[in-house]
């Protein structure tokens, strides 16, 4: 389908890819599965490291199904988001993650309960992976009461347990992430923080400040550069004097990872957690990936790159298609199992999408809710002196 209607391709990624590949592999699978298989990983590039992540990965059939489900659900969330935006139900900004799913899904698979994440505004998928329901994500995007920030944050300000956003200021999340890592070390709770940023933010000054202090203080912080090739519409070559982002921590060791391979990102995150937990300080990881959509919904993404380029990535490097082929070819899963997952994911996201349109927004009394944890004035000033707003405590407090 995507080959036939290139202009529509960017909005239809989810369906298209599964449909194209499924019939081909179905003939090989014969409905029998193996319990596990081992895969080679595209070699990592190392910076100031003697040893990198494991170059082969063992995958169980159970994990294969789980990873596949997460990859597809992330893709579907973004397809739904794109549609909701076009229906003008999502307002303002909306930045889609389609094409980059393997970065988040693989890393999440390696993370433990104690670990934490902070990312930029391309955060819908991460929010889901950190435990917020599809409805919690989508209805935040539509600004409804069931949103994980009750509709008060919007698409760039989603939070969850051990998940500190969702940040709309390019680069700001990186020192914040180092601060979360500081807290892990201060408490000695064994947690590691993943602070994600794009190739655009990679040139922000405050990153280098954060690298420096993290290294000085051996913070358990993994700086993850998701290099999708473009910071808004400026290609990496036009923005960065060095595009080897994994080396740009200088004295902070780094790893280049194929960010389109969910097993590579999983092994890299495992390595990073072990590295940080051993008290060796921070690490930089560059995940080379690609975004199918424009920077945000207002960007068709075609003036600074060609449609052919996007199509080529979709056809040769798509993180979902390639993973699907792998696990089918190795007979870890059957086509039917994947079809079941596709159906389940579709149902879940469709239902959440529907509900995210029908849920109401929070009442106007929440305009002045939870501005302060401990509010000291009963009323907040409204638009004019005769329209005071009562400060409400909606979120329970531990007074």
């Amino acid at each position: 389908m995507s080959k036939l209607i290139p202009s529509a391709a960017k909005f239809l990624a989810g369906n298209t890819i599964t449909k194209v590949t499924a019939p081909v592999v179905a003939t090989n699978a014969k409905y029998s599965t193996k319990k596990e298989a081992t895969f080679e990983i595209k070699p990592y590039k190392l910076h100031k490291l003697d040893q990198g992540p494991a170059t082969s990965a063992t995958l169980t059939s159970e994990d294969a199904l789980k990873l596949y489900e997460q990859l597809t659900i992330l893709r579907r969330i973004e397809t739904a988001s794109g549609n909701l935006y076009k229906e003008k139900i999502i307002r303002g900004f909306c930045h889609l993650y389609s094409g980059q799913e393997a970065v988040a899904v693989g890393m999440r698979a390696a993370m433990r309960d104690a670990d934490s994440v902070i990312t930029a505004y391309r955060c819908h998928g991460w929010t889901y992976l950190m435990g917020v329901s599809v409805l919690g994500v989508l209805s935040e995007l539509t600004g409804r009461r069931t949103g994980c920030s009750r509709g008060k944050g919007g698409s760039m300000h989603l939070y969850g347990r051990n998940f500190y956003g969702g940040n709309g200021i390019v680069g700001a999340q990186v020192p914040l992430g180092a601060g979360v890592a500081f807290a892990h070390k201060y408490r000695a709770d064994g947690g590691v923080t993943f602070a994600l940023y794009g190739d655009g933010a990679a040139n922000q000054g405050q990153l280098f400040e954060a690298y420096n202090m993290s290294k000085l203080w051996d913070l358990p912080c993994v700086f993850v550069c998701e290099n999708n090739g473009y910071g808004m519409g400026t290609s990496v070559d036009r923005s960065s004097a060095s595009t080897e982002y994994y080396t740009r921590g200088d004295y902070v060791p780094g790893v280049w990872v194929d960010g389109m391979d969910v097993l590579a990102t999983r092994e890299a995150a495992r390595f990073a957690i072990e590295y940080c937990n051993a008290g060796k300080g921070p690490l930089v990881m560059e995940m080379e990936t690609y975004r199918y959509s424009g920077h945000s919904m207002s960007d068709p993404g075609t003036s600074y790159r060609t449609r052919d380029e996007v199509q080529e990535v979709r056809q040769t490097r798509d993180p979902i298609t390639s993973f699907k082929e792998k696990i089918l070819n190795h007979e870890l899963v059957t086509p039917d199992q994947l079809k079941d997952i596709d159906a389940k994911v579709r149902k879940e996201v469709d239902e959440a999408t529907k509900q995210s349109k029908t849920e109401p927004e929070v009442g106007i009394e929440e305009l002045s809710a939870d501005i302060y944890y401990k509010n000291l004035e009963p009323f907040v000033r409204g638009i004019h002196p005769a329209a005071p707003l009562k400060h409400l405590e909606v979120q329970p407090r531990n007074h």
Binding site: K152, Y159, P175, G179, A369
Partner: protein
Amino acid sequence: MALKSSPAVLGMLTRLSRRSFATSKALASKPVTVRDALNQAIDEEMERDEKVFVLGEEVAQYDGAYKVTRGLWKKYGDKRVIDTPITEAGFAGIAVGAAFAGLKPICEFMTFNFSMQAIDHIINSAAKTFYMSAGTVPVPIVFRGPNGAASGVAAQHSQCFGAWYSHCPGLKVLMPYSAEDAKGLLKAAIRDPDPVVMLEDEIMYGIPFPMSDEAQSKDFVLPIGKAKVEREGRHITLVCAGRGTDTALKAAEQLAGSKGIECEVVNLRTIRPMDFDTIARSIAKTHHLITVEQGWPQSGIGAEICARVMESPSFFELDAPVWRVCGADVPMPYARTLEAHAVPGPADVVDAVTSVLGNKISAVQAQ
């Protein structure tokens, strides 16, 4: 009291107190400098709560650029008193991130002038996150340091941020005047679950104030959002904060002595949330108001107070227009005489009081 002393005596007192308080605890009857009061507050709160830590430039081994954190590194060690590189955006961001994760950072800016390098983290990261997360991510952090004009340090190092930070919902903004203010407000700020900006004043650091037994106890905390009437009076209200309070009190002293004018001096202590009730009560009594601050006039703290008066029944209590006594609308010059004319002194307040009470407003404006 120190306020009545000449500058020479004051300086001597400062040096004496520095020496004595470096090694021994202050006694109830003895004066305590603002610097030592701040130091006590941090020390006591660090002792009380393991989650409290200090970071900033020169806070540890150097003992603080202005010695506010003196002795704390020796007592609490590297883990809890942390020297940072001179990179405000980075360390303010790290401090806010640590607060996201539940610690209680005290982030010192060597002076608030440098907080502009980090203002994104104060506003966008600290002030707004609790609201954006619908109350799920509290940010219990204190940003503190000297604010406003010091002496002879020129434009980039002489600026009041009271108006800047108090503009922003999500922040609480404190401006202590005395040693009691400094200790009680800083302890309150550290215990507060919201982001607090504590605007101190370098020139006040060395000034000793008498401190009551109560104020010296470890349980002494002042309420955030409450003003203090420093001096009762019936003719005119002077609303001020921080070093402006020093200026207003000196002017009130002169006016009482020379002209029999009784000024009521309201020390705001907190700029946000602002205790307008106390201001309104005072206006109802004196029917005249002047605001005194170090910052620039436009959109300043005085401008905010004027606006609140205009919007409230206090307007009808006024017998004359409100005046602002504030920093001149110029970047701070270096030369001594120019500098002296850029920030308000007691004589300026005396002039303003005389004008407002004499209803000479139209004459002045006609010039």
